[in-house]
């Protein structure tokens, strides 16, 4: 968290720093099937975040990894060295990247029908080409589309988004500046069929009431995110159908 000395005003005239309402998502666009070699892929622009997700597998797991009961899910989250506005990122995976990879793998191990593919591995590569806050949520939302695009059987189409406390207000989907200076950033990953929580990380301070408010904002925003995920999956098929309907 950045020093509070030069903390910018995060709420101006009752609106957020980028003019949004507290329950308003940044613009979200997803395109499915963008990479040729991968079994499934998705490109996502969420605010100023630019994210690529690719899926390979299931394929034979290396012996040290193989589980005779189920497929192993191996997610890898990484940030391009030029993804941030300031400075130049170094190439070795940071502890932060390793942790996010781990919690992302956990999300998808829950939702993928892993028992159908013993001794195999499903790889999920998430590359943050440009970062603007909320990248782990953006990565999970894109990876979910890539997995469905690969035809991997899953119990649900997961989405993820951050709730936050900005001063005394609860808000959804923080951008980089809000992320740096807000009082709490609370990323959630949700299974929308039953609204169960698959990822929750947070430090800072919120009251139980504020947490409930964040949960409400997340579920509300989730309806929009889910629809955009589904539209992305349908798009290429509908485009081909439309070609024949016109005639």
């Amino acid at each position: 968290m950045a020093s509070s000395l030069n903390k910018p005003k995060l709420i101006v005239n009752g609106k957020r720093i980028d003019g949004r309402d507290f329950n308003e998502l940044r613009p979200l666009k997803i395109e499915a099937g963008v990479l040729k070699n991968a079994d499934g892929s998705a490109y996502e622009e969420w605010g100023n975040n630019k994210v690529l997700a690719a899926v390979y597998g299931p394929k034979e797991a290396p012996r040290y990894l193989a589980d005779p009961e189920k497929a192993v899910i191996r997610a890898k989250y990484s940030m391009a060295s030029f993804s941030g506005l300031d400075g130049h990122g170094r190439s070795a995976p940071s502890r932060r990247e390793v942790e996010i990879s781990k919690v992302t793998s956990d999300v998808f191990s829950n939702i993928i029908e892993v028992s159908q593919f013993p001794n195999s591995v499903i790889e999920i590569d998430i590359e943050i080409l440009q970062s603007d806050g909320g990248t782990r949520a953006a990565g999970i939302t894109a990876a979910s589309v890539a997995l469905a695009n690969a035809g991997i059987p899953m119990k649900d189409l997961v989405y993820a988004v951050s709730g936050a406390r900005i001063e005394d207000k609860m808000a959804i989907d923080v951008n980089m500046i809000e992320d740096n200076y807000s009082d709490a950033d609370i990323p959630f990953a949700i299974s929308p069929r039953n609204n169960e929580v698959l990822l929750l990380q947070f430090d800072g301070g919120v009251t139980p009431e504020q947490m409930k408010e964040a949960e409400k904002l997340v579920l509300e925003a989730g309806k929009t995110i889910s629809k955009i995920q589904k539209d992305a999956l349908k798009k290429s098929y509908e485009d081909i159908s439309a070609k024949y309907e016109k005639k």
Partner: protein
Amino acid sequence: MRKFVFPGEMILNSPTGLSYSYIENDKTYSKVFGLFDESSKSLIPLKSVWVPHIDDRVIGTISEIGRNGSYSVEINPMVKGVLLTDRRERQKFYVGDVIEATVKEIEHKTTAILERPMLLKDGILMHINTAKIPRLMGKENTMINELTTFTKTKIAVGKNGYVWIKGDNAKRAIEAVLRIESEAHVPGLTDRIKEMLENEGNK
């Protein structure tokens, strides 16, 4: 009426044993992104991961020759193919040979024991989305028969997604296969492919 369905979408209010679906709280949910036909209660994935079944005909490449006369056959990134032959028999295949064979047994879901091999000599090998293989074959093989008749090519289709094509018109057959792969979800596929083949035949 067919509609798009997504992983986690409830497709039926009662528990059913449909393929590519699961049951939770006595309701049926889709596991895949696919098309669901409410009247016929069929769920067809738009993309799928192939898992071997006994009697599946598959296409693969010989990758290794074992000392005991067995062959390793590459059929899929997840499933290993093993072809057992009589040790006294003369070596029939070489590394790099493409063969068609039938799944006889499945071990630990990751090894497919193959039998009844047939060498596919020369020709071109391509791979398509395995969810589209039933459409490429057509009802009672009508689609694939049409294809081979019109293009005068030899075509072998593996359930694992590999398609082997041989003949002077291979390029035309490849085009048709790719078109079937990309347009299978649009009604009227058979007529469109027929029209495409007939038109080109007159050129």
